[in-house]
């Protein structure tokens, strides 16, 4: 028996449903403006570059590099049992407008987390909920040099 998931989950709306449906289908999608070609994260109903509302959801590589990170030693409420955990900002590979996505990093010794580390999206179905969340892992296995 799995313990219930007690961490916050997203309210899924008509506007953001394609993103969350994408995660469920193992696809990390991002909004791209058909008018000017720019990506934007987090999603907004109109393009933040040209203000067009002609936005399409396109599959993204799900790959990027760590732009910044924090090893969290004191977590809020439901995250308290997870410490230490790694919150990352990942700059996705897609251009021209870099998208910086906030998430958590798994499978990486704490002493190997660094700015610039290549990472990829992973998909996590939440038991008992109609939601799939994304997380990140190193794109190639990372070994520990001790500590961690």
């Amino acid at each position: 028996m799995t313990a219930p998931y007690l961490k916050p989950l997203p309210q899924i709306s008509e506007e953001n449903r394609p993103f969350w449906d994408g995660l469920s289908a193992r696809e990390f999608r991002g909004p791209r403006c058909r008018s000017c070609g720019q990506f934007g994260w987090v999603p907004y109903p109109a393009c933040r570059n040209c203000f067009s509302t002609d936005i399409e959801w396109v599959p993204l590589s799900g790959r990027g590099v760590i732009y910044s990170y924090s090893i969290v030693h004191r977590g809020p409420a439901a995250f308290a049992g997870d410490v230490p955990y790694v919150v990352v900002m990942v700059e996705l590979d897609e251009q021209p407008q870099p998208m910086i996505v906030l998430g958590q990093l798994d499978d990486c010794p704490l002493d190997q987390v660094r700015v610039g580390l290549p990472v990829s999206v992973t998909f996590h179905d939440i038991p008992g909920e109609d939601v799939t969340l994304y997380r990140f892992s190193p794109s190639a296995p990372v070994g520990s040099t001790g500590g961690g």
């Binding site: 219930p4 987090v42 910044s68 969290v72 030693h73 004191r74 977590g75 809020p76 409420a77 700059e91």
Partner: protein, 386 residues
């Protein structure tokens, strides 16, 4: 009525600040409002402008307090951070849409710290791409900023820690501060304090406590008959560019700056004052990194040189521009929306009321508020006495 009449801060008041005061929010608000009006020598019936610094939507907070103050029409309905609220209330007074404005806030038991919320019994649903879904809260979000800053500019934990040391030294001289009674701290104390979210240690973070405060602004003709020396609002502005902790764009440290730069440039332009004329400043220091970035964005040093500027001693009492002389958010008080505490400390410095921490002959002061984001929402005000 002249459209160019000046506006001044004429009354300030801070309640007791501390962990769990056992008071209700409204009792702290009432004490603060009564206290600030008494400091000004004005009555509640003089008030015709309201700027609660944490307000409910649809002017609900203003309507509650309009009734509480005697069901007289309030003709200025404002809000904002302390600095922006003061700037806008002063503009309203100068435009003639109100004569006496109140700005205030209180906190009783609320907070941003990770321990401030209980574990829910079912997964809560939050809007779209909320940071809490990813296990982030205020400290990790500022830690991400600090980590990237350290990566780009080679700053160290010790560079950040010196801010906490200086602000604690100032708090020790402030008998009303929450942390001053605990005595000074060293750089070693800061970098050896418990890690909260790497690279931010416990002593890199602001405190969180109960308490309230209020400010009263008045038009020139009223201000000159008030109890204390008027502290004139020379200029102020606010700016916002990014969504609430949701959008982070590369570059994070652009040469041209972001919201803090914009509102500060505007405030100085409106005030007709140059940066070198500032005698004392209180700048929103929710984390040590924030203070370094404030000094850079506000143009007191170049981007990446905040730590060097602090190391040179400019921000210490006795330095070229003593900062956060009350101890700041790091060691004086963080009470829900502490931005206005910065304005109050500057007012007290300009009045010469600061005792052991008084900056001699302080005539022009500066305050910065920011928050709701990582430097994405900000406001600046320049104040002076005649």
């Amino acid at each position: 009525m002249s459209t160019t009449r000046r506006a001044a801060v004429v009354g300030v008041y801070t309640t007791e600040q501390g962990k769990r005061l056992g008071r209700t929010k409204v009792s702290l608000e009432l004490e603060a409002i009564k206290g600030a009006l008494a400091d000004a020598g004005l009555a509640h019936t003089d008030v015709d402008g309201l700027s609660p610094l944490l307000a409910e939507p649809w002017s609900k907070t203003h309507m509650y307090w309009a009734e509480q103050l005697g069901e007289r029409p309030i003709t200025y309905i404002g809000t904002g951070q302390g600095e922006g609220a003061v700037a806008k209330a002063a503009a309203a007074i100068s435009a003639g849409t109100c004569n006496v404005a109140l700005a205030w806030v209180a906190n009783a038991g609320g907070g941003n710290a990770p321990g401030s919320k209980a574990v829910p019994t079912a997964a809560p649903r939050l809007p779209d791409f909320h940071w809490e879904i990813q296990g982030a809260y205020m400290t990790p979000l500022y830690a991400l900023w600090a980590q990237r800053y350290m990566h780009e500019f080679g700053a160290s934990s010790e560079d950040l820690a010196q801010v906490a040391v200086i602000h604690r030294d100032h708090a020790v001289l402030n008998p009303d501060s929450v942390m001053g009674r605990k005595g000074p701290v060293t750089i070693e104390d800061v970098v050896n304090s418990r890690m909260v979210a790497d690279p931010l240690h416990l002593l890199d973070c602001s405190i969180e406590n109960d308490g309230g405060y209020a400010l009263v602004l008045a038009a020139e003709d009223i201000a000159k008959d008030c109890r204390k020396t008027p502290v004139w609002v020379l200029g102020g502005a606010e700016a916002t560019a990014t969504d609430v902790y949701q959008t982070f764009n590369n570059p994070w440290f652009p040469e041209e700056g972001k919201s803090v730069r914009r509102c500060t440039d505007m405030a100085f332009d409106i005030a007709g004052v140059s940066r070198s004329e500032i005698d004392v400043a209180n700048l929103y220091d929710c984390f040590t990194i924030t203070m370094l970035r404030n000094l850079e964005e506000m143009g007191f040093c170049k981007i990446g040189e905040g730590a060097e500027y602090v190391r040179e001693g400019h921000t210490r009492l006795g330095g070229s521009m003593p900062c956060n002389t009350d101890g700041g958010l790091l060691s004086n008080s963080h009470n829900g929306n502490p931005s206005g505490m910065n304005v109050i400390e500057v007012v007290r410095q300009l009045r010469g009321e600061c005792g052991e921490r008084q900056v001699a002959d302080a005539r022009i002061g500066l305050a910065l508020g920011q928050g709701g984001s990582v430097h994405g929402l900000a406001s600046t005000v320049v104040l002076a006495h005649d």
